[in-house]
Symmetry: none
Subunit: 534 residues, 2 copies
């Protein structure tokens, strides 16, 4: 099957963001876009410009990214029943997005046309044709998303077929068959896709939902039946029970069907991609998530462990390293080292198996992970840690103490005030700042103190702050992990802190973010920027 | 397909218990057995008596339960390569269990026979035959579990077929084909089962694992190809990525294939069963779990909500009540009056379109949502808000002020101390507490002050605490939403607070959690519990 072409179409930023509890900032969306592109995703649906202002901002900002592989798609729907295309705000928002691709959904199910749209079956066909033609006249490629196609086909197959034939004739470049309610069975999906392929010549796509725990299977069955495009989201994020999980579909295509979709090299970053998006979505990857969960290749039973040590194929369906995961048995020191070396190479840090500090670094990372640290989205903290243990980091400052007071008087705005004492060489600065909340106050006070020594620090600012409560069954005494993203206007970097105390966790992440920037900008140990004292 | 017979075989107590983090007590196992029986499961695999003493106890105790439907199976393996059956401790443990059924696994994959068992292909066949015959001689029905059957078939189909023919000839009453590593694709499963059915007359079973996120699909494909028995676990618990999830398989069979397996009445207890087992397993049911998760039928997008209210079929693959779940209109979309009335009815609060406070409540919710509140997981806060505006809530206490101080001295444990002043009628209590972090300190101080008036509050405790940073591009000055789950040991309830100040957001959620409990337990305005002052 090696010659088969498959396109991956990711809708994490649109359909995925519909999931309860997920709310991506513009910054998050741009970062995820870059990561998906890097991984080799072919199409990235960035949002629905007609539905919210944040998405309009996204399409403006995304033009400044230099993407290697991916094309950006904007999502929307066919025109409203009683508007001409040029009057339709939704279609015009797509045009205004200036994205190269417009993915628009239309109705395939007669029930929806008459009950939800309250229009005629004939007018629906006209809406599909008009909308596609209008977008094409404005220079966009159009992917037509046939909403509820499988339910529509079950209810009235002739009409469902007519809708997609209309889309084909109007010039849609893909026809995506959607199992919008997620209720279809794999064999039905296969049978319907095969039937559609007899009549439609345009390349087909599949868009499956997971309401029956079948979205991955349904996508693969559609692939077997000949679709070219597979739509889904990272980790299956999405409304209700989620969308088809690309994180499980991609390795199945690569490793089980033997089709090249992103290539073996990029596939090794599958776990990293899954965890990166999870961090920004503020979700946890379940330990048992296929391919990328921490326990996906964990062997517990004695029989399994000894068999696996003799021959891993005995209890592993694939080699975990192919997807960047690792076998987890009782003793796994070695895999720790080789993963770290792999990661260090990626970050451009010299660290090989002969490095005298390697064991110490591995031990330190383990110790910190036990405390709740997590370096997936905090590579600046990881780099700093390695440099510190290798003795190549010379401290730029010393924090003597920090204190934050928050006071709440009902009916009045809360007050948060921080005081810090910072030392550089023999100079000591004691200062204070107020902020919106204790962490903001602390950040401001520390920055205020440090710019006395390093005025360059004025350029950097916190752009993102995330908090996760770990093992939250213990209530407010639970461990807290704080992830911070900082930017100097040119680049941004992530740092992490963890503690049972949110103030301490935040402070550690903030300090890392400043130390990292100083290390990068002011030289690892020779140069020194800033004034000497003041 | 109505005439098709399907047997459900549950292995939650054996394979499910292999999952990292699950450890059932004997008591748990017996309770789950009764629940599974009540639900209509046909076979319950209670344990592996040859592998651990707790399982031996289980088989003793289970004989005292009076089960309606289910038969109990004990799990084990074929005899060891160099022992006669009567010398094999594992086979004898099965006999000693006095379970009516023995399910034993044996090797189908030549690689395993030679590499793991270190014996000959011929001897493996002899082991299968001997073991089955020995158990049958001792009055047991034998189900033969062909471990790694699909991998074995891929590697050497002739030998794999020979192993199960041997089991059939030796008198096994079921031959269960296992995809032990969870790596097979649905179409392959179907094709192999069809092939096996041509040669094997004994009823077949399927035992799938979820390493490729395909276990439910693989079980259903095997069903389509003619297996009679489907093995799986509740919620898909199991080693690595888990087993086939019966909670998704059962409704697919009943509602999509139209086969009676437990019947429509019992199916309505599906959600209850899933949550019951989750409780005993000490696991959480993910909100997005198909069929039974709290968000499985949640509608958030405006288009979806209005369509669903017109006709639920438009965005629901099944009626949620068929599996004991319910439609959830997410409260953040509750800007409209009718949505709020619908929600109030769900919560058991009297609120109709003629209520004079309706508009005020709607406006307040909108205002709070703009500030970052979110009531979807905080129904107690919503109920409290409605009762307050309706004038039916009489304050139990007044917070005069709260202050938290966090101090960090590098190299020492951080200190967090809170002080609060609380008034009830004319009494004033001023107290302080230390905690693991500022929020914990605040929670403890407030609780300490209030229990002076309401000693009953000692019963309640925080069980979950979540923080989400909203619009986090603003860095640490971003808004923060805190969600708290509190329990009194019998029930639990969710409350919410939001602010740019995490301390204030947390305090509001904590106060709501206490007020809600006092309102529920101490009456809405008449009764008063607790001492009057102290």
């Amino acid at each position: 099957m090696k010659e088969r072409r498959v396109e991956l179409y990711d809708t994490t930023l649109r359909d995925g963001a519909q999931m309860e509890g997920i709310s991506f900032s513009l910054e998050d969306k741009l970062k995820i876009t870059e990561k998906l592109d890097e991984f080799g995703i072919h199409y990235i649906e960035g949002g629905w410009p007609g539905s919210n202002p944040k998405d309009i901002e996204y399409f403006k900002a995304v033009k400044d990214l230099s993407l290697e592989n991916a094309q950006i798609a904007a999502f929307g729907s066919t025109r409203r029943p009683r508007l001409r295309p040029e009057e339709d705000p939704n279609l015009n928002a797509l045009v205004d997005s200036e994205a190269p691709i417009a993915t628009i959904f239309g109705k395939s199910w007669d029930l929806h046309v008459t009950d939800a749209l309250k229009t005629t079956l004939e007018n629906n066909l006209q809406m599909i044709a008009d909308s596609i033609e209008y977008l094409r006249e404005h220079g966009m490629k159009v992917f037509y998303d046939a909403e509820h196609f499988f339910d529509g086909y079950r209810a009235n197959s002739d009409y469902a077929m007519e809708t997609i034939k209309t889309a084909e004739e109007a010039g849609a470049e893909r026809i995506v068959l959607a199992d919008t309610n997620g209720g279809s069975l794999p064999s039905f999906i296969k049978q319907v896709v095969e039937r559609v392929r007899e009549e439609i010549k345009v390349p087909l796509g599949i868009h499956a939902h997971n309401d029956s725990e079948l979205a991955v299977a349904n996508s693969l069955m559609a692939f077997e039946a000949g679709v070219v495009q597979i739509q889904g989201t990272i980790n299956g994020y999405g409304e209700r029970c989620g969308n088809a999980n690309l994180i499980s579909i991609i390795p199945a295509l690569e490793l089980k069907y033997g089709v090249e979709v992103v290539g073996k090299e990029k596939l090794r970053k599958l776990k990293e991609l899954a965890h990166f998006v999870a961090e920004l979505a503020n979700m946890e990857i379940p330990r048992n998530q296929p391919y990328v969960g921490d326990s996906a290749f964990a062997h517990k039973g004695g029989v399994h462990v000894s068999a696996v040590l003799k021959n891993p194929r005995t209890y592993e369906h694939i080699d975990p390293e192919l997807v960047g995961n690792r076998r987890k048995v009782v003793v796994s020191e070695l895999s720790g080292k080789s993963n770290l070396i792999y990661k260090a190479k990626e970050l451009g840090i010299d660290l090989d198996e002969k490095d005298p500090h390697l064991q110490e670094i591995v031990n330190k990372i383990k110790e910190l992970e036990f405390l709740g640290y997590h370096f997936e989205a905090a590579e600046a903290s990881l780099e700093l840690l390695i440099e510190k243990i290798k003795g190549r980091y010379k401290p730029f400052f010393e924090l003597e103490r920090a204190r934050v007071i928050s006071e709440i008087l009902p009916g009045q705005p809360p007050i948060s005030e921080a005081t810090v004492v910072v030392k550089v060489d023999s100079k000591r600065v004691h200062t204070a700042a107020e902020g919106n909340g204790p962490v903001n106050a602390l950040d401001l006070a520390l920055r205020k103190a440090l710019t006395e020594f390093y005025p360059e620090l004025k350029e950097i600012k916190l752009v993102d702050y995330k908090v996760r409560v770990l093992g939250s069954e213990k209530g407010t005494a639970a461990k807290v992990r704080v992830l911070i993203q900082t930017s100097d206007g040119k680049k941004s970097w992530g740092t992490v802190g963890a503690s049972t105390n949110i103030i301490e966790a935040s402070l550690n992440a903030i300090i890392d973010s400043m130390e990292y920037w100083l290390m990068k900008e002011c030289g690892k140990n020779e140069k020194r920027c800033g004034k000497e004292g003041n």
